[in-house]
């Protein structure tokens, strides 16, 4: 390996790939070659940096200068100015949304400043396809330490001491789960990595697998060693081809170095890993459905108990851990459970990765210490809502989670506070909504998702989610009746308490939490036939203000269904029976004469 005076790290996460990072990488390589800098400066395609919205991201080391939305056209300038002359290109710096300050070093950006990266510690720093870069950052030290001293019980004790809870949604204590499995009788045991990430907008697991696959492999080996498993499966959804490819590469490299396979590090411990591609059913993230899917059965959940820790894959004791949970493990084992437990709150230790999306300035992937307030995450890290738009709600926990209003924003982010407020930590989806979002429509959207993803096995989920959706559609369609609210609540509570698996048990959360915090908005839809956010098409119409309209005819021309008529230079009018409420006329009218009511 040669010595380089500088590194150009280009984010190669899926987000940045879509925005063109591959071309940027090629341009850098070309340009460096042309300038004969290719032996001095190395271009590395890393995993996700998290700030996908500003991608393609380029970070130049050793300075740590970050460039946002870099295009191939910018490359020559960066090479000439920064890499040759040492003058960073200020126009590509990140601009803080409120202060408008241009910030060169990424650690000083609010988006990164408040983060604490344990699970994501390597994401964006290393080449995920090179095991040596992982090892250089302390990778596989935890495994060596575990295999070297103390034996499985020590690993288990450290994980218990860390207080780590499952990051996949329900927050079950990881150490306890392992303990059950370790104690369960069985000639064979399995460890499964659940990478069937399916919440709309969530991409924590994908980013970790793409950006730091070895941390997950090492986590699985530690888990396997602790519970006595010799075989493991990574259940990765097939929609994540890049993650699958990087994990395949990582497995091959680990096998080559003898870190995976028989007699690892000469300790007698053997471990084999297989990848199973999921076929895209959301419910396969549920552990019993996931097991059925690996076994080749229809991916539907079964009743628990028996829990997989006792009777899981092929009837054998099995631990299923989420990607993020596993990525935390090497750090816990290496530095001790106590150090991990020092971060976070009393009952929620460590950090949590969130996928920050929706109507806010800085979207992307963030890892924050547990206990941080939702307000800090949204307004300081996320930069708040856009200019002139009022924050309305944050949906946390994906389709299984809930919608929290402004009044709940000072809530600490931990498992129990969120559950108490009617949401859940979930896998870490955070969708921010501003005043332009209709809360009933949001509930309707999530129900349309869960109803489609219901496996159809149990009555409440199969039939009930559709009925919930139908009532919500009735309300957003302007046909709601006063009894609908009570019916929604009653049905939602029943589904929650009687559904067979986690999908059904949490599917009503968006309905219950929005009714809890936004009852007025429901009532406006039902009683006043009004959608305050102006989203529900059936509940608003457009009207031309006679005083403002000058009869220019632009609206009539743009209307796709010819619903607007009028004489030239005379006020126009809209034929509501023909209008499809597309809003094109509103956008085009130079005189703001078309009013939405």
């Amino acid at each position: 390996m040669g010595f380089y005076r500088g590194h150009v790290l280009v984010c190669g996460g899926t987000g940045c790939v879509s925005s063109g990072c591959r071309e940027v990488i090629a341009a850098f390589q070309d340009e460096l070659r042309k300038k004969k800098l290719d032996q001095e400066i190395k271009v590395v395609e890393t995993g996700c940096h998290g700030f996908c919205e500003k991608g393609p991201l380029v970070i130049v080391y050793p300075e740590g200068v970050m460039y946002c939305r870099v295009e191939t056209a910018d490359v020559t300038e960066i090479v000439n100015e920064h890499l040759l002359k040492g003058r960073p290109v200020a126009r590509l710096f990140f601009t803080e949304p409120l202060s408008l300050d241009k910030i060169p070093r990424y650690q000083e950006i609010n988006f990164y400043k408040k983060q604490k990266r344990i699970a994501l510690r390597n994401c964006g720093y290393i080449d995920p396809e090179n095991i040596h870069e992982y090892i250089a950052r302390g990778g596989y030290d935890a495994l060596a330490k575990a295999l070297g001293n103390g034996g499985p019980a020590t690993v288990l004790a450290e994980v218990k001491a860390s207080g780590l809870r499952g990051r996949g949604g329900a927050g079950f204590p990881t150490g306890t789960k392992w303990e059950f499995c370790a104690a369960a009788p069985g000639d064979k045991k399995y460890i499964i990595c659940n990478a069937d990430e399916g919440d709309p907008g969530a991409f924590m697991d994908r980013s970790i697998l793409e950006g730091d696959p070895h941390s997950v492999l090492e986590g699985m080996m530690l888990a396997a060693y602790a519970i006595g498993a010799g075989e493991g499966y990574l259940y990765i959804r097939a929609e994540y081809p890049l993650a699958i490819k990087r994990v395949q590469t990582a497995i091959a490299q680990a096998e080559e170095l003898g870190l995976l396979g028989e007699n690892i590090l000469n300790t007698g411990f053997g471990f084999r890993l297989r990848i199973k591609e999921g076929a895209g059913a959301f419910v396969c993230g549920e552990e019993t459905a996931l097991i059925a899917s690996i076994e080749g059965e229809r991916g539907i959940p079964r009743s628990r108990p028996p829990f997989p820790a006792i009777k899981g894959l092929f009837g054998k004791p099995t631990v299923i851990n989420n990607v993020e949970t596993l990525a935390n493990l090497p750090q816990i084992v290496l530095h001790g459970g106590a150090q991990f437990a020092a971060v976070g709150t009393e009952k929620s230790k460590g950090t949590k990765v969130f996928a920050l999306t929706g109507k806010l300035r800085n979207t992307g992937l963030v890892e924050v210490p547990m206990g941080i307030s939702m307000r800090e995450v949204i307004f300081e890290i996320g930069g708040g809502t856009f200019e002139g738009k009022k924050f309305k709600a944050v949906q946390i926990g994906g389709p299984s989670g809930g919608c929290l209003p402004e009044s709940q924003l000072d809530l600490p982010v931990d498992y129990d506070s969120l559950t108490g407020a009617g949401a859940i930590m979930g896998s870490g989806g955070l969708v921010v909504m501003d005043e332009d979002s209709c809360i009933v429509d949001v509930a309707r959207y999530f129900l349309s998702f869960t109803r489609k993803e219901s496996c159809g096995k149990c009555t409440p989920c199969r039939e009930g989610t559709l009925r919930l959706l139908e009532i919500l559609e009735r309300i957003t369609g302007g046909m709601g009746v006063p009894e609908d609210l009570e019916m929604l609540e009653k049905l939602a509570i029943s589904i929650k308490s009687t559904a067979l698996c986690g999908l059904g048990q949490t599917a009503p959360n968006p309905v219950l939490s929005t009714i809890r915090y936004f009852r007025k908005e429901y009532l406006a839809h039902i009683n006043e036939r009004k959608c305050p956010a102006g989203v529900c098409q059936a509940l608003f119409y457009y009207r031309v203000d006679d005083h403002l309209c000058v009869g220019c005819g632009v609206c009539a021309k743009i209307c796709p269904v010819s619903a607007i008529q009028g004489e030239r230079k005379q006020p126009h009018h809209i034929n509501m029976s023909a209008c499809v409420k597309c809003g094109a006329c509103v956008e085009r009218c130079p005189f703001h004469a078309i009013i939405k009511e």
């Binding site: 009555t459 409440p460 009930g464």
Partner: protein, 574 residues
């Protein structure tokens, strides 16, 4: 047995540690409503009607599948429980056609019963309903997917008890479908038409294709000579179908009822069961002596035959070439009987009364026309006979006992026991033992082959040979035996296989019983009829002897071959 103590509704209950909450509650005399649960099937926990509250648990548990735990506290009858059950019931009803009076399962429907018990007066959801076409492709069964409530019982019985896997679950969520592979009708699938799905379905989503209307029309036709053959299992189950005690033998009253329905002659399939013993016994001895394909496997059960054709085509040469008693009867009715009575066989209409749905399929098989006509014209199940008796307002319990007509009503106890699993083997032994060893079996009741479940093995010395026998019923169990035969791990000479668990008394055309508990009573009824029979050995049936003398010559004769034997067709699984 290791037990645990738990508290259900305030009372301490001891239960086996592997018991479910439902089983523990029933031990304590508490009933919990169920729908997808069936005691003969592995629990599924999908309908969520049996939900109960468990102290300390976040959500309710499905009692049918949730195991008991030490010191568990369960509440089966709280307001929350009742409301949750009611909501789930309403959700099912909201997607179920409420056409009860015209449904085949009216007054015998578990969903209807629950709606009644919960006093549901209105279904609050009037949204989308599933729309799916009916499936009439099968000769034996009709599927009405719109009535399906997704309990999955048919799928479980088809796969777990029958090992056929013709039914499965497809699509997801509200669009879930239960049935044969998408795009295929039941007739195009590997369905063996055993009808167990119809017996296990709690509602009217799958049921027999009825022949009642055709039979009524034939009976009303003055130019038709309508004869009926009653299979042995029907006499002990028709009472149950009419609401009487299960297993009660009502042979004489059934005959009286059939006569009053207008059948010109009332015969018994037991006659041709005796004939089967003569043919199949001869076949077995022939194969033992001349080195034919062994083991010889019985061929009375048409569900089993179709199963073998799909899944064990390489064992088809092991099957007895004897037609089933039903088909032997049909061909003889239109040949021997027609000759004897001078009737034109074209005007003879043969109805069979069977505990079986697969018999409808068998009667319709294209090769079943050795008489020159379709040998059996219509097949009625026990359930359909009950329906006809209801329609004719006939209460057979009030009728005098009457005798079957001669000659095909002259039967033996050996033929009666064909109705229960093990009966064919036992009947064959009664005859073969005596014919080969020259003396009557030490005891005619041969216990080693009797029973409802599992695989029963025994051996009997016939002459010089120790003949090894296996008896099994239910096709999943049959698979175990057949796998051993296929792999050369078994050295049986004779195997009796009946498609339905327990044999014909557990057939797919039998009265629908929520628990399958009545199979024991029905079998007991069968053995009771045998014990009281004047003649108990097939070779002593005087009418059978006369048949050979007047018409067939001897067992396995050329004529017998033409009329009473058949061949099989290898079919692909898919």
């Amino acid at each position: 047995m290791e037990t645990v103590t738990l508290k259900i509704d305030g009372r301490e209950v001891q239960a086996d540690k592997t018991a479910t909450i439902l089983e523990a509650a029933r031990l304590a005399g508490l009933q919990i409503p169920t729908l997808c649960h069936h005691p003969a099937l592995r629990p599924d926990g999908s309908c969520r009607i049996c939900v109960v509250e468990v102290a300390g648990a976040r959500n309710m548990a499905a009692a049918c599948i949730a195991p008991v735990a030490p010191n568990m506290t369960v509440f089966t009858n709280t307001q929350a429980v009742r409301e949750a059950r009611r909501t789930n019931l309403e959700l099912i009803l909201a997607n179920h056609p409420l056409t009860c009076p015209t449904c085949k399962r009216n007054l015998n429907c578990e969903l209807q019963q629950l709606a009644h018990d919960f006093c549901i007066s209105d279904v609050p959801y009037n949204g989308r309903r599933r729309e799916m076409p009916q499936d009439h492709t099968s000769a034996a069964l009709i599927r009405e997917p719109e009535k399906c409530i997704y309990c999955g019982r048919c799928v479980r019985v088809c796969s777990d008890l029958q090992g056929v896997n013709a039914l499965g679950i497809f699509n997801r969520g509200f669009d879930t479908e239960v049935g044969p592979p998408p795009g295929l009708g039941l007739a195009d699938s590997v369905c063996v038409q055993c009808g167990q799905c119809a017996v296990f379905c709690p509602v009217g989503a799958i049921y027999e294709k009825t022949a009642v209307d055709e039979v009524w029309r034939a009976l009303a036709d003055p130019y038709r000579h309508v004869v009926v053959q009653a299979a042995p299992a029907v006499q002990v189950s028709i009472g149950e179908a009419l609401g009487l005690e299960p297993g009660l033998p009502l042979t004489g009253k059934m005959v009286a009822g059939l006569r009053r329905l207008g059948f010109d002659k009332v015969f018994s399939t037991e006659f041709t069961a005796d004939l089967t013993i003569m043919e199949e016994g001869t076949e077995l001895l022939g194969r033992l002596r001349n080195g034919g394909a062994l083991p010889l496997i019985t061929s009375c059960s048409p569900g089993w035959i179709k199963f073998a054709e799909h899944f064990y085509p390489e064992l088809l040469e092991n099957l007895s070439t004897c037609k089933s008693p039903q088909q032997m009867f049909g061909v003889l009715a239109k040949t021997y009987y027609a000759e004897k009575t001078g009737l034109d066989p074209a005007n003879i209409y043969v109805v069979s009364l069977m505990p079986c749905t697969a018999k409808k399929y068998e009667a319709a098989r294209p090769e079943m026309n050795a008489s020159g006509f379709r040998d059996v014209d219509a097949v009625l199940t026990t359930r359909e006979l009950a329906r006809m008796l209801h329609e004719a307002s006939l209460d057979i319990s009030r009728l005098p006992d009457e005798e079957f007509d001669a000659p095909f009503g002259i039967v033996t106890g050996a033929a009666t026991i064909f109705g229960a699993s093990g009966g064919v083997a036992e009947a064959a032994l009664r005859t073969l033992y005596e014919l080969v060893n020259g003396q009557e079996m030490p005891t005619l009741e041969y216990a080693p082959v009797r029973g409802l479940d599992g695989i029963r093995e025994s051996s009997v010395v016939l002459g010089e040979t120790e003949v090894k026998i296996a008896v099994t019923s239910g096709l999943a169990t049959a698979r175990e035996v057949l796998e051993r035969v296929r792999n050369g791990e078994a050295d049986y000479h004779f195997i009796e296989i009946m498609a339905c668990p327990g044999g014909c008394i557990g057939g797919g055309g039998q009265p629908i019983c929520r628990t399958c508990d009545n199979r024991g009573a029905r079998a007991a009824g069968i053995y009771q009829v045998d014990a009281h029979s004047a003649i108990r050995k097939s070779h002593e049936n005087p009418a059978v002897k006369q048949l050979y003398k007047e018409f067939l010559g001897e067992p396995y004769s050329h004529k017998a071959h033409q009329l009473l034997h058949t061949g099989y067709t290898a079919r692909h699984a898919y």
